[in-house]
């Protein structure tokens, strides 16, 4: 067994996004999910001065800057879709596991768009992960 370099970064994601689930629940106990998304984006804005790259930003290619901005658009439109699904009558216990299946899209897109392939063991890990995330989101 070896620890890949990305493991530590994913651990950061798991801890902080895991904690998000608690605070999101506390928030949506008091305000609507759509309002919480608006205030969540304000939370992103609070971080902006800390991550402001200054002139260094213009050293990166326009294409990659565009990908960075597009990631924010797609992620937050997706979150809006999730909340709209719940608002239009979808039960959280069904909607959340469906939305949690987004890595499936990546499994299909990554070989085509990024020319990445995964090993059989990694594929089995992805399968276990998908089962896990559906069960945990239910």
């Amino acid at each position: 067994m070896h620890i890949p370099p990305w493991f530590i970064y994913v651990a950061v994601v798991l801890v902080f996004w895991g904690a998000c689930g608690i605070f999101q629940k506390l928030a949506t106990n008091r305000i609507s999910a759509e309002s919480s998304l608006i205030w969540l984006i304000l939370g992103f804005l609070i971080l902006e001065p800390l991550v402001y790259p200054g002139q260094a930003l213009w050293h990166y290619s326009r294409e990659n800057i565009m990908w960075g901005i597009l990631s924010g658009v797609l992620s937050n439109l997706g979150a809006w879709g999730l909340y709209a699904a719940m608002k239009s009558g979808g039960k959280a216990s069904i909607v959340a596991p469906i939305c949690a299946l987004y890595p499936v899209v990546v499994v299909f897109l990554a070989p085509i768009l990024l020319h990445e392939s995964i090993t059989k063991v990694q594929g089995l890990g992805v399968l276990c992960g998908l089962i896990a995330v559906v069960l945990l989101s239910a």
Partner: protein, 144 residues
């Protein structure tokens, strides 16, 4: 021939829209992270989030509930989410496989479930216990 009822419910289409947006979100995050460091990616991510927030605010006629605790918790969620997002950009930038990193990072509900037990005193369901088992198996397989 009539369309099955399940395909006529709006929430299903919204859910699928979410999946179809979050999938490409990870792909473009990977593309940008190959050159741009994680904090700068987070800066750009927020620039992209801003018009969505303004659009949502416009749809709601610039009205949100005025519950102080709710607003605090939601804003704090944004700060935590932003820090976690930087972790994801850093993971993509470190060269790992996108499908593996995306799946591993999508397992964050396992931490939520554990925190809910510890902080909110919620009880684990057997489905969640099985889910934690599969999550553990996934991480063991990723580390082989």
């Amino acid at each position: 021939m009539s369309i099955p009822r399940i395909f006529r419910v709006r929430w299903l289409w919204y859910s699928l829209l979410c999946v179809l947006l979050w999938g490409p979100y990870t792909i473009v995050s990977k593309l940008g992270s190959r050159e741009i460091p994680a904090p700068t990616m987070q800066f750009l991510f927020t620039l992209g989030a801003l018009p969505v927030g303004l659009l949502l605010l416009g749809v709601r006629r610039f009205k949100t509930e005025k519950d102080g605790k709710g607003i605090f918790h939601a804003t704090f969620t944004g700060i935590l989410s932003g820090i976690g997002g930087m972790g994801l950009f850093a993971a993509y930038g470190s060269g790992g496989k996108t499908a593996v990193i995306t799946t591993a990072s999508s397992l964050y509900p396992m931490v939520t479930v554990v925190l809910a037990v510890l902080i909110l005193r919620e009880r684990l369901t057997w489905v969640q216990v099985v889910g934690l088992g599969f999550a553990t198996a996934a991480f063991v397989l990723f580390s082989l």
